[in-house]
């Protein structure tokens, strides 16, 4: 159900590593819970994040939620497409709907996160 090539947090962020760059977004489960997303506020490129820092926020008509950095690092890119098309988060949360990218991440921090199976189990518990 959830992609195997990424790690997850209990706050419903995902993070995927490619060539030392870590891309972050929110999961399909989170996007569905929020409903139609109307706005995404992204961090500034160059911002330094500690693991767990509030890095972005996401709004729908009925809810607003903070997005936390799943791992620490420096923001090296943000998804400008979300400024005009926040619906990408609902439509394609793991590809076009990514939020920001981090570099300078300590890979050890990834070990604290959930893999797809553990996250799926966690989400299952949330739904009951």
């Amino acid at each position: 159900m959830f992609p195997k090539d990424m790690k997850f947090t209990k706050d419903h962020e995902w993070v995927r590593e490619e060539d030392g760059v870590y891309t972050v977004g929110i999961t399909a489960f989170a996007a569905e819970q929020l409903g139609d997303i109307t706005y995404v506020e992204l961090p500034e490129v160059g911002a330094e994040m500690e693991q767990g820092d509030s890095a972005a926020s996401v709004e729908s008509v009925k809810a607003a939620s903070d997005v936390y950095a799943p791992v620490g690092g420096r923001v090296c890119d943000i998804n400008h497409d979300l400024e005009s098309a926040p619906e990408l988060v609902n439509q394609d949360p793991y590809e076009q709907g990514w939020f920001f990218r981090l570099e300078g991440v300590r890979p050890a921090q990834l070990k604290t996160l959930l893999d797809a199976d553990a996250y799926e189990k966690y989400v299952g518990e949330q739904e009951h």
Partner: protein, 427 residues
Amino acid sequence: MTWVPSTAAERDAMLSVIGVQTIDDLFASVPAELRAKSWALPAGISEMAVRARLEKWAARNAGGVTSFLGGGAYDHFIPAAVDALTSRSEFYTAYTPYQPECSQGTLQSIYEYQSAICRLTGLDYANASLYDGGTAVFEATTMAVRLTRRTRIVCHASLNPIYRSMLETHVANLDLELVDGESPEGAACVIVQNPGFLGDIEDFTALAERCHEEGALLVMSFYPISLGLLKTPGEIGVDIAIAEGQCLGVPLNFGGPWLGIMATRKEHVRKMPGRIAAATEDAQGRRGFVLTLQAREQHIRREKAMSNICSNEALCALRALVYLTLLGKEGLRDVARHCHSKAEYLKKRLSFAQILNHGPTFNEFAVRLPRNAEEAADALVSRGFLAGLPLASLGAGEPNDLLIAVTERRTREELDAFAHALEEVCN
């Protein structure tokens, strides 16, 4: 004395539907030891008696005097249609428009009000209202802190001293640094007022540029009527424009309810507090209006909300909208032109006093009288004039300093008579 319609028989019938004997049975969850220990209130009096008492109290307040009192609240003329329309109970007895389908009158009026404020200020977005001009300074401050993530707040000398002291009260328990001056260095915002509290018109365009170079915001408290003539906050480069909107068709009301106005640039709108209405469509493609960006507000975001504001001053915003709609494009300019011209005329008639403003003023100016201003003002009430605000009473001037405001309501005869009377009591 009651507004409860039920008769004793109806109450008994309702109690039997509920399945209890007495009304007190419905309060069984309130333990005896927690019942009211005192209820020492007077007995009710008839509608007639209430009116008589309040008419008596109202009559003990200054009435029928010609006013030159301003200092943030002004005696402007209110066209009869403002009262007639805003006293329609479909407006004043309605609740916040959380059910948009039965609140389109409210929501469209908010949209039109927001449009009027944007057109007045030259800014992109306005909210549906805040409490008043003083609390708007606090709301603008916390908004600037959210936008810049800085904690230094710079208050310019032009700011109403009452607003300054309200800001101090509201931020007392926050980690903010309140300083006086105009240096934007390291600041979240510089807060200015135009025209200033003593009436001076300043061009803050250069300050806006300096603020932006330093990464600070320029917050400006403006006087809505003055924008019939003056350069707009948008033209100046203001980031957050706030105002006391009382002058737009809201009575003086001994201080409230009034109207807090707030407008801002597009890039800041998501951090603006308060309700906002937006246009949209229903499934059949009909235009309608809803409250939007509610996820920023307290009922959804709770402790992370942009503000705690819930009730605002919607009915006063409607008054302002009806007022501006009646005046129209030319009417507002006329009111501003009259205010300014009459104030300039009066200034010239006060040669016995020293005008304290060195540059241009709009409709308010400060003078140093040859006599204590409180005494002079006191003496003038019996002659039918509220002479102005003795500035020492707010710590905003010397004992002889008086702040005088002139609106379009003052006639040349009144101005002449006032100048004469003021000169007499000063001699």
